[in-house]
Point group: C2
Chain length 111, copies 2
């Protein structure tokens, strides 16, 4: 219910969204969120992308730009793509991004 502060759907700005996605780490996070979109993910599921502190930073950027929603649940944070809001605001945008990302979903599938 009570999620962390984020812009209202109407005030999500394109330039902010683009700037937020113009970073490999954050783009990868969004790519991972896009697949497995049924349920939310936690920060620790992105640890292969960087340090704990760094992820906290990048996830805040994504949230402030309006790309993700973060809902605290116990000691974890449930992170989800704001797909509906983004699709309404920027039709086709997210899909085009994700389609490109999906082409190379092989970063480093460490065993």
């Amino acid at each position: 219910m009570t999620s962390l502060p984020q812009p209202h759907a109407d005030q999500i700005e394109l330039a902010h969204v683009l700037a937020a996605l113009g970073d490999e780490t954050r783009l990868a996070i969004v790519g991972l969120l896009a697949q497995g979109e049924q349920d939310a993910m936690t920060c620790s599921q992105f640890l292969h992308l960087g340090s704990k502190t760094g992820l906290s930073y990048h996830l805040a950027k994504l949230r402030e730009a309006g790309l993700v929603s973060v809902r605290p649940e116990g000691t974890k944070r449930m992170i989800s793509l704001r797909r509906a809001d983004l699709d309404r605001r920027f039709p086709g945008f997210l899909d085009s991004i994700i389609a490109c990302q999906a082409v190379r979903p092989k970063p480093e599938v460490q065993a």
Copy 2:
């Protein structure tokens, strides 16, 4: 014919494109290029967006990211959107960007 150095269509990277567009000035430039897409524009047509030097900088960024093509012609530079290349590489992406931009094409139409 001989245009300034730019990435080949195949090696245009999504994160670079997004980073290049994550700036109000550059996003505005691309928006202007998108309308009036019949012919190219010159740097000086963007002077209301910033200083001469600044535009040179931003246009280089757009070119290096693969968004625009720059062809010297006399003392001018003919700048055009690389729409075909971008559409092939990231289908739907440019259109979704431009559609949002088109909603507010009223920055400051100074007389």
